[in-house]
Structure formats: structure tokens, C-alpha cells
Amino acid sequence: MQKNTKQKKPTSYPNYKRMENDNKKLSFIERMKQRAVSQEPYSGKAEDFSPGTNHSTCPNCGAGRAKQDGLTHCAYCGHTFINTTLSDGHYIKGSDNSTI
């Protein structure tokens, strides 16, 4: 009597079909990530900058500005730095109007 010589399949084949599908869906996340990260935002990537000072000297006569002279006009030549009338804001007050 012939024995059944049919070979048995190994009992634990990896499920390649499922893995392939999982990879396709995992790569969706990768694709979404790439798109989000590589996009140029509307006004550009926001730059970081540290505290610092800028000149506020008179472009007309080169004089520096002193606190007691007010912010709106140059005490030396009368050049107008600020065309409007200052009111009481947070850092700037009405008292900062030059008296020229």
C-alpha cells in the first residue's frame, strides 16, 4: 500500500499579501509626512531671531535721540520721525510726543 507522499505545507508561512498591504498603507503616512514637511508655507518658514538694538538716529542730521526730547521730532533739526500724535499705549505714552 502506497503511503500518502503528498508533502505537507509548512505551518507558518508569513502572510506576504497582508504585509504588502500594510506596507502600502504605512507608506501612506510616509507620503503624507513628506508632503507636509516639504511644503513651502505661505509666508515662508518663520525665522528665529534674538534680541538686539537698531539705530534710531536722525537721518537728517545724524543726532541721537534722548528720552526727554520725545519720540516724534528731532530736537536738533526738527526732522519728523513720527507723523502722528502718540497716545497712551503700552510702552509708548502721550508724554512721548515731542514738544516742538
Partner: protein, 190 residues
């Protein structure tokens, strides 16, 4: 809007119209230095006033300031000092902007496209700029103009535009998904 209402008092001579129009221009890419020069102020003055106006809106429980800001935003192009300011890159596509302001369906289509762009992981404002040459400030200015007319529309008209916008959103969502390999559940069928 009462002229006597302290909520509308200019801050350092910068009125709500100045502030609103300036924000429209900033959203168009106009440099803050340019805004300041046009208004006749320096940056610390502009920023102090800007913070002040933001605080006014937060302190206004009746939303009248923010409502008026919206109205002014829609009129940014008419501002005597700021109206003509343009970004360094130029005025953008004037024809498309004109169409956006006069063709409600075109406007709704671009609103849908912009939403779909964000929902697809893109920068919607940049997409509009790249594909139609319309900058964000101009887009928002036109949006406010359409909003001013909303109260004159019938319920049917409002629904018509809402449905049109949503249909366009779905159309663009499909396009953006196809450009990036599809949605995560595209192959899941009933």
C-alpha cells in the same frame, strides 16, 4: 459705529481702518517697514498700536470692533495711504483677482480648493498663490466683500453656494489625493 465710542479711539494716531488695511497688506507680503513709512510712523509705534487694537478686540464683549475690522478689511484697497501698496513680488494676477471678486462661483470654487489643500496636508494659501497668483490678503479682502452681501441672499441661494463649494472641495480632494498616491482607505469598498 459711534464716533464717541472709546473702543474706536485711534491708538498713536493709527485708526481701526489704518490697522485693518495694514493687516490686509501685510497678508499680501508687503513689508512692515513699507506700512510704517506709508502711515508716517516707526515700527515700535506700529507694534504698540497693533497690540492695543488686538487688546481692544479681546475687551469688546459685543464684537463691534472685530465686525468693523472685517468691514474695513474689505475696503483695504480704498485706504488713502495703504490702498495702492503692493508686495515686492508684484500685484499678482489681476484678472484672477477681478474674477474672484465678481464671480461668486469662482470664489466658492477656490474656497473649496483651499480647504481641500489643507485637508490634504498642503498650505492652502500658498496653493492659491502658486496656481492663481492671488495673495492671501487679497483673497481675504474679497472674502469679506462677499460676506458683506450675505445678509441680502435668500436661504436657497446660501444653500446653493454652500453645496457648490462642498462639491468643489470634494473634487479637489480627489485631485490632491491622486497626486500623492491616494487616500488611506481608497481600496475599502462596501
Amino acid at each position: 459705529m459711534s464716533q464717541n465710542n472709546p473702543l474706536f479711539e485711534p491708538i498713536h494716531g493709527i485708526s481701526l481702518f489704518d490697522y485693518s488695511a495694514a493687516n490686509a497688506k501685510l497678508a499680501n507680503g508687503v513689508a512692515v517697514d513699507t506700512i510704517c513709512a506709508a502711515l508716517g510712523v516707526e515700527i515700535p509705534v506700529w507694534e504698540d498700536a497693533s497690540q492695543g487694537w488686538t487688546q481692544r478686540m479681546q475687551e469688546d464683549s459685543d464684537f463691534i470692533v472685530i465686525t468693523q475690522m472685517g468691514t474695513y478689511f474689505a475696503q483695504a484697497g480704498e485706504h488713502p495711504k495703504l490702498g495702492g501698496l503692493q508686495a515686492a513680488g508684484g500685484a499678482g494676477n489681476a484678472a484672477n483677482l477681478q474674477r474672484l471678486a465678481s464671480d461668486r462661483y469662482f470664489y466658492e470654487e477656490l474656497c473649496g480648493a483651499r480647504t481641500a489643500a489643507y485637508e490634504a496636508g498642503m498650505d492652502g494659501a500658498q496653493w492659491i498663490q502658486t496656481n492663481y497668483g492671488i495673495s492671501l490678503g487679497d483673497f481675504q479682502e474679497v472674502a469679506m466683500q462677499w460676506m458683506q452681501l450675505q445678509s441680502s441672499l435668500s436661504d436657497e441661494e446660501i444653500l446653493e453656494y454652500t453645496n457648490y463649494m462642498d462639491a468643489k472641495r470634494q473634487e479637489y480632494a480627489r485631485k490632491f489625493a491622486d497626486e500623492n498616491g491616494g487616500n488611506i482607505a481608497d481600496d475599502v469598498d462596501f
